[in-house]
Amino acid sequence: MSTILSARGLTKVFDVSGSSVHALQGVDVDIESGEFVAIMGPSGCGKSTLLHLMAGMERPTAGEMILDGARVSGLSEAQWAVLRRKKIGFVFQSFNLLNNLSVAANVELPALLAGVKGKDAANKRRELLERLGIADKEHAVPSQLSGGQQQRVALARALVNAPEILMADEPTGNLDSKTRKGILDLLRQCNAAGQTIVLVTHDARVAAVARRRILHMRDGRVTDETRTDGRRDVKGILGSMIAQEA
């Protein structure tokens, strides 16, 4: 498997009312093609910040990133926008659909921004909505949908350009348990079809969906990594102590 995204020494410091908040402190991450990686940790540990940096929605204070073989650390906002259209799909906790647009228009938007012809975008949209079980809602507006339906639409939107990597920030955070299961099943199906997924969650049950890897974060650092092959990679001083113990 090839490494699709590689980050070294990612650091993010926020200036909040004159004081510095170190959200990330030198994080190293490698995401390989076809992986389903969960990033887990308590609230405020920096997991969402890490995801936002990987998606180019925030600029790192320090560190390097390589996406699909190209260095992306110093890209401009316009260049990141192009990347997000073509290579990154993003799903938010709050769905973040455009309320003035229909479901169909929401899903087609990234495709149209990427220059796909209207007809082709419509075809892709239909296929995705069919796959996600909400084809009958294409003319509805987001306010007419349930939370689960909105999240499916958001997922369809994120997948319409067949991105290299799908990032999801607490995609089930606003959903009930039954709906949550549905969304997670969909993510699993997508991964089974070869989609690389990075998912951020604070919920261990959600993280358990990520069969390959779970990265544990605390205080802006990756402290632990669990793999489905049973290997554990505990980072940092604690990790080295545990390894020594072992």
Binding site: M57, E77, A81, R84, R85, S94, N96, L112
Partner: protein
Amino acid sequence: MSPAVLKVILTDLRSRKWQSVMLFVMLAVSTMCLSIAVLVGRGVNDPWGRVFEQVNGAHVWFTAIRGAVITYEGGGESITVSADRMNDPLPDLTKIGGIDGVAETAGPYPVTPAFFALSRFGEPMTITALPAQLPSMGGPLVVDGRWLQADGEIVMDSLAAQRAGYRIGDSVEVIVVERPVKGMQLGQPVRDGKTLRYTMVGVALDPGFDFAGAAYVLPAAFDAMMGDRQPDYRYGVRLSDPEKTRHVIAAARALYPEGTGIRALDWLWTKRVADETVRVVAPFLLADTAAALRTSTPSAFNVPLMLLSVSGVTAVIFAATIHSALRAGRLSPVTAIKRPYGAAPRGMSLPARLAARAGLSPSFVMGINDASANPVRAVLTLMVLAVGIIMCTFTLGAEATFAEMQKSTAIAGDEPYHIRVNLNGYGEDDAVAAVRSQAEVEAVVTVGGGTVQVNGVAEAVHVRAVGEDYGNTPWWFLEGRMLRKPDEVVIGHGMAELYGLGAGDSVTLSAGGATRAVTISGVYRDLERDGVIIMMDIGAFRAAFDPALPVTGMGLMVKDRSRSASVAAAIRSASGDVLRVRPLSNDPGEVIWTIRPVLLFLTALLLGMATLNLLSTLFSTVMERRRDFAIAKAVGMAPRQVLASVVTGACFLGLMGLALGIPLGLYVTGALYDAVGEIVNAGPDLGVMPHAWMLLALVPVALAVAALGSWAPGRLAVRVPVVRALREE
């Protein structure tokens, strides 16, 4: 208001600083405009009429002028005072009181002859003898001081007092001069005379149509002033139907032989002058205009008036916001938090759907959707834009009219000639020969005057009988064309309106027992007699009615108008100084440069307000759509696409504003032209509509302004931080 609520208000304003500033500026400008409108409306809304009704004014003042011969030429009266005729008996004005339609009469009051009395600045004064008991009809309105009680007192009208700088209690100098020399016309004062002094006890307003400085003394004082000289007399009539004024004047003139020195000044003419002057230039000439019209001058700093304006704006703001405020008060907290921007959106707007269907890029579709998704806001923004465009359209029409006026003021009803010639007894053939001897003269139109009755109606209508090269004189035609055949006539706009006639109609003219059927080939604009006039071929008139009709004057067109003065001098010289030759400047420059700055100011003001309003709308939209912009950027919309989205929204609104504003502007322009034409009795269509190229040029200009104006809100949208904006929502 509690401090907490005040704090919330201030915080809200501070959080939308630019929006607050723009809102403040717009409200300030609106208040200013409303104040000006109230000021102008109150000040100029028929100021003459207010005084007229207060004094139970006379609709027509007839003045019998001693020694005068009055002829009509060039749309006005020409009064020639001849020493030879000074001892001729004056016509009996009281006969006019018997005309059908005259309800009340005033006078006859003795008045000083023209230039008999001068102010210390050499300006003619018309001094009328009025009794200590003011007449019930047609008297002046005393606005300061008191009316006359003693012989050594004088009451002056406000214009005369203002010009001379007199105040109550001042000693007023009246310079008594000898009667003017033979052939002297108004406009040539004689300065030698004796000085009399009176104490000014009052200031009056007089809607009595005499724009020379008016003043009043008691009859005994008047007799002492005149000595053994004979006065003129002034006779006022109030009509049962003011609309019949022209008929009464025609009937009055018919009572006396032609040329008899009776001058008739009617309320229509004075009202036209008052309205034309005040309404057209009022905003910046209020004081001067009002003084010139001798009406009450509204103070530009009238505190109660200003308070009224501010209250008016406050009331409008209150009415506009009370509904929203009440709704805000009734908001359920849970619902409001769940839906911060009100009811759930219903999807894309129709224009956005059409744009999407047309295959426009998503940033354009988003921009159009943002501009049109809120119909109330979109409509309000469009309305303000449309008002600016309407004003623009009118101003363009005015400029087109100005361009036309620069070529010829016939569009306003003036004579199209460059030089006016009065034969003054010179033979017709010799006069024509003298004129044609000048190579610079391009066209000669001989003019004689007569009267006919039309279709058997009793009132006589003046005929402008024309000969020689009248065919191509550029009178301004409202319909049809110039007459070409002897059995054709053209009629003035006033006649068309009065008699309900138009081009193509046939009428029967009669005079002196003879009749002739003619066809109206056109309706033209003529200020003479408010357009109640017929123009016909002089040969045809002579053949039908009066073989001896003399040519009294000529109108000349020259090849180079700038040389009119020298050509006029040459003609005068060729006639041995017999012909009275006058170059007609008809220079519209003064009128244009009085009106143009006002129009440009108003246009800039309204367009500025429209742009500010658009900016405010765009800023509001961007602030409300922060989340949407953040989402769009998250899914791959580049900064330039975000900017394009905002600019597209602005241009969309600009185009809609044009689509609404230009047709409305054309309608308003036409309506205003008709209204102004009505006011000045010059007929409808008193102007030229803006040319198509002018309107087309508005489109790129409007789009450029919209695009430039949307730059700032666009940059704001571009700078929306994705993560933070989504987190805030």
